[in-house]
Symmetry: C2
Subunit: 513 residues, 2 copies
């Protein structure tokens, strides 16, 4: 058995069952071994950012790492933006990056570069394998590191000779996963006190936004009257009827400061204290209101759900917390706008759907209505590196073949990793992309106006306008094998979204705003 | 004047006239300053790899750096693969990477990451600006570093507050460029001796493959009978009738070893000694034949052309060297194959065309005929990071608006950075892409068979096959605003290529092999 096969047997033993791959010559022993081992499904991406984003989506939905298989430094580089998002989402991911044979690096061949420096920027674990016999042990260590609470990106650089040479002995046995550390009684006591006095917020992030965490938070809110607010860009949030209604943290500093105005205490459960997404002149970095007390109930690497449950119990909270009632909006008609687009999605969203939200400014309508839509899962743009939506939708659909995936996707962001559509077609994934086409980087136009840099908002259109030429999203989707239509009315969107959801398989609907 | 405007005035003063940009919120003062300064043309890319590849193409054709404008770590990461190619091409490029305001980094906002570690992997110069008043001086230093022989990538990380704050005093004055170091007389003497005894090769790279270098090399070949061989993946090579016929270094180690069999001396002019592109079991790293003497006439940072001319003079070479005669192949007919595709291009190629070669296995036919085609410029895949062709063609067309650009493009590679087609349409660039669609990563299939990893070559098709679904390249091009057709015969390719070259503006012809 060669090193590559030994490594993949260890990975399969550790529960890994999918590999999002864009391989090259230095990864071919892994390609052959995927075939030989059989237990790990190879999924081809046309671009590495598709592979890493899909691994992120897969990991968010399953809680288990997927493998990626990437080609040397440039292949890893192409995948880094979505690994940045995975890092911020604390998603377990294991990257296998092929490298030149150990003895060939000194020749400085054209594709040689500093892979580990790239890997360190996104990974909690980076190692370069030194021999075929060490490879399966290195994979076991990488999987363990990726799964260590709260979860993270592990990158193993594997020289080609360590893949193709014989690996003596049996593959390494993966080590058992360690659980998160419990929350201290002190933290529960401090949090309980903070939430029962003054105007308090329970700020939820990470596992606090999964169903058990939310249910416990709903109990706390019912017992104390505190507000529940989620981080602005949750990795994974359960949402909709039957769950507690949770406000979402705003985007601009002035929005957050308004939202938190008068708040005297903030309890953090799996979330960080609020900071501005960007720094602006005359705006603070920290968005904690002056004088407010902040306490950490549970950091992301702790038992966040257990901490919330302990808090609810300490407060003698009722067993049933606050929950939202189902309130589907009417079937929208008329003009297609951010509002009617959101209402259409909320009207039609099936129970159990996964919504991947990279709609940017076009997603506001959905956000307003999602708390009372049918219960669903929402995956957000954790790290702000755009080009995440279509790949994450791809990975989520592979992870949950029985659940429809709806990708709410801005046009500017979609253009980064549109190649994901091909993988959706190749794998017949049930993803419906609502491509919100406003023919601009609208957020930049808003930022230009806010900043006073462009008193005439039209001036710098050269770098924020996407209408010359108009991008034909339906053609692009069809080119990658995904059936597509273009709509410019709420009725049209409603009709085609309903049909796509009924039909299954990948679709793209260009919603021309 | 704020820091951004001050910086761009310095850049313009240093001769920079184009900025390939994909900006975000942290670069908006630069966006506004591009408008205010006016002397630097902003060119929008939908993906950062398009911007960096275009800057590479622009720099190869002009010898001057373009700016790129990129959004924090993820934006730079998306551009790294083509910066890797630019590094290997020794192209001058100046990256401006926006970052969070200096005082905001400590808050660790979602988009924060280690930008300088990313930058160092591709750059000869990396600096983070500390204040608005230092920004224009930092830009001057970055431009100087990029232009320092032999040329390289310079990356300046610019916190947003250094862009928006007032910059007191006038913008910095760019420092005059330093020229390359001269070649030593000793080196000329040793090279002359090596080339006049035994079976010798003059190995050409960098500026040795520009017209003056080639003409001097042709004189040397005529005087000594030595063979002229180019590096396998030249950054820029003048090619065709009226220039000396130059062999191209092979790709697989066994090809190169065969090509160099019996060679007793190798003189390096702007090229490195031959090494294998990848390491293989039972194949060496270094491809210098056993016992052959190697001498460096000129390293890439020296006066390569001056060295070749001094060598020709030392050899008393005639003023006119070996040159190839024009030998256009007949107009091909019949089946479309690698051979007839190459013959079609060689038949129709206009004098002065720029050929961007990322055709991989489909480019072999063109290579066989290019030495006797009409004189043209060929730009190669220097660093092996695929996804270079369409962006480099974009930058080359902007650099040389009066020259037709023909992009010979493999399908697998094109899928990495197809967004470049939109910029070609937006800027009405005269680029004709011949998209060689063989519906596979053919090189990987060949490597699998060579390696013995896949005795049944069909086995691992899952990761090397691109036919499920078939990618509709004409639709993709039309989606990005580029007129396109699909052809499956030599006649069809010939007719449509002729029409596209006659018409100007961007076109894509999908050649179905």
């Amino acid at each position: 058995m060669n090193g590559a096969e030994s490594a993949l047997r260890t990975a399969a033993h550790a529960g890994i069952d999918v590999c999002f791959a864009n391989p090259g010559t230095t990864e071919l022993p892994f390609v052959a071994a995927l075939e030989a081992v059989g237990a790990i499904r190879p999924v081809l991406g046309l671009f590495e950012g598709v592979c890493t984003g899909a691994a992120d989506g897969y990991g968010r939905m399953t809680g288990r790492p997927a493998l990626t298989l990437l080609h040397l430094g440039p292949g890893l580089a192409n995948g880094l933006a979505n690994l940045h998002n995975a890092r911020r989402a604390r998603t377990p991911v294991v990257n296998l990056v092929g490298d030149h044979a150990t003895w060939h690096l000194a020749a400085d061949p054209p594709l040689a570069s500093d892979i580990t420096s790239l890997a360190r920027t996104v990974s909690t674990f980076v190692r370069t394998t030194r021999s075929a016999s060490e490879l399966s042990g290195d994979v076991a260590a990488a999987v363990a590191a990726a799964c260590e609470p709260p979860g993270g990106v592990a990158t193993l650089v594997v020289p080609a000779d360590c893949q193709w040479e014989e690996a003596p002995g049996p593959p390494a046995t993966p080590s058992p996963a360690t659980g998160p550390a419990p929350v201290s009684e002190d933290a529960v006591g401090v949090a309980a006190k903070l939430l029962t006095g003054g105007s308090a917020v329970l700020l939820l992030g990470g596992p606090a936004l999964h169903r058990p965490g939310l249910m416990a938070a709903g109990r706390v809110a019912r017992a104390t009257g505190c507000r529940l607010i989620s981080e602005g860009f949750p990795a994974r949030m359960e949402r909709g009827a039957g769950l507690p209604p949770v406000e979402r943290m705003g985007y601009f500093p002035e929005q957050v400061l308004g939202q938190l105005s008068g708040v005297t205490g903030i309890v953090l459960a799996g979330a960080a204290a609020p900071v501005a997404f960007f720094g602006y002149p005359s705006q603070p970095s920290s968005l904690v209101p002056t004088g407010a007390d902040v306490c950490v109930l549970a950091s992301p690497d702790q038992e966040v759900v257990g901490g919330l449950e302990a808090l609810a119990d300490a407060l003698d909270a009722p067993n049933t917390g606050l929950t939202a009632e189902l309130a589907r909006p009417e079937r929208p008609t008329g003009e297609l706008s951010v509002a009617t687009l959101g209402a259409t999605v909320a009207h039609l969203l099936p129970e159990g759907a996964v919504v991947v939200d990279e709609a940017a400014t076009s997603g506001v309508g959905y956000h307003h209505l999602s708390a009372t839509a049918a219960p669903h899962t929402c995956l957000g743009l954790t790290g702000g590196a755009i080009g995440q939506g279509l790949p994450v939708a791809t990975g989520a659909a592979l992870a949950c073949p029985d659940r429809p995936v709806v990708a709410l996707q801005a046009d500017g962001s979609a253009a980064y990793t549109l190649q994901a559509l091909w993988t959706q077609a190749r794998q017949s994934l049930d993803v419906t992309t609502v491509l919100c086409n406003n023919r601009s980087y609208r957020i930049l136009q808003i930022e230009m106006a806010r900043s006073g840099l462009a008193p005439d908002r039209e001036a710098p259109a050269g770098l924020t306008d996407l209408s010359h030429p108009d991008i034909g999203w339906a053609r692009l989707a069809e080119g990658f094998g995904v059936p597509a239509v273009s709509v410019d009315s709420a009725d049209g969107l409603c009709r085609h979204l309903e049909a796509a959801l009924g039909e299954g398989g990948p679709h793209l609907i260009e919603a021309r705003l």
